[in-house]
């Protein structure tokens, strides 16, 4: 059976912790390992931070939308903003690439999302903003972790 939640919040840095904890709480019903849950939280944190500081240039009037769906032991997370979009997605995904070095951004957001999830998709346009979608299997993995 499918189970879904939708969350929206203003593009405020203080909401980053809320966003990752909310998704992690929703995912907890799959009984994930501590490490998988930490990876999920990190991926959410990276995508939400990108939406706030890159999508909306830290303008708190912008809204960030998260929808998370659980089905067959897997979580599917979509994090969307209606901000300025990403000019070149492949470039943005390069490790250490950042458009905001003055903010001491490490340029590791997409690299971390790719490594901490099973599948990552990014769609972006200057007219409609950015959609980051990732999937992560959380249930039924313990047998392999011995």
């Amino acid at each position: 059976m499918q189970n879904a939640v939708n969350i929206s919040f203003n593009a405020l840095g203080e909401n980053e912790a809320f966003a990752r904890v909310a998704v992690a709480s929703f995912a907890a019903k799959l009984n994930p390992t501590v490490d998988d849950l930490a990876e999920l939280k990190t991926a959410v944190s990276e995508a939400v931070t990108n939406a706030i500081i890159h999508g909306y240039d830290s303008n708190p009037a912008g809204m960030v939308y998260i929808s998370a769906t659980i089905e067959d032991g897997e979580i599917d997370v979509v994090i969307r903003d209606e901000g300025r979009g990403i000019d070149n997605i492949e470039e943005a995904k390069e490790p250490l690439f950042t458009t905001k070095p003055e903010m001491e951004r490490a340029g590791m957001g997409f690299t971390i999302m790719e490594h901490f999830t099973d599948r990552l998709e990014v769609e972006s346009s200057s007219s409609s903003g950015t959609v980051v979608r990732f999937k992560k299997r959380l249930a039924g993995k313990r047998v392999n972790c011995v």
Partner: protein, 120 residues
């Protein structure tokens, strides 16, 4: 939230962080650490992250920024007390290649303290 504590031992500054370090708190950590480095005229820096269950790439940015600051003055940086998630961030970003990783604060102090300065 993040709480920050600093302790200077000679030329080594120890920064102990507790909480979850994300973009929202990274600016505070940056300002606090910069100020402590200046006030104590520290040469080397130890990040004790044993009280940090969560960090994202914003934390990496702050730690890398302070590495550059200390490195310009000929100093070294060690991080200690990393949990599995934080350790993977360091591995992915390559920070392990430019900083020391120690299990404990004492190990880091033994490495960067007065007695072992000549080792580098």
């Amino acid at each position: 939230m993040v709480t920050m504590k600093a302790e200077a031992q000679g030329k080594v500054l120890i920064i102990r962080l507790t909480g979850e370090l994300d973009h929202y708190y990274s600016e505070q950590v940056k300002e606090f650490t910069e100020q402590q480095i200046d006030e104590n005229q520290s040469q080397h820096l130890i990040w004790n992250l044993s009280g940090l269950p969560f960090m994202d790439s914003s934390g990496l940015g702050v730690i890398l920024g302070r590495y550059r600051q200390v490195n310009e003055m000929g100093g070294s940086v060690s991080v200690c007390g990393l949990n599995t998630q934080v350790k993977r961030l360091f591995q992915l970003s390559g920070l392990f290649k430019i900083m020391y990783i120690d299990q404990t604060e004492q190990e880091a102090l033994d490495r960067l303290g007065e007695s072992s300065c000549k080792m580098r």
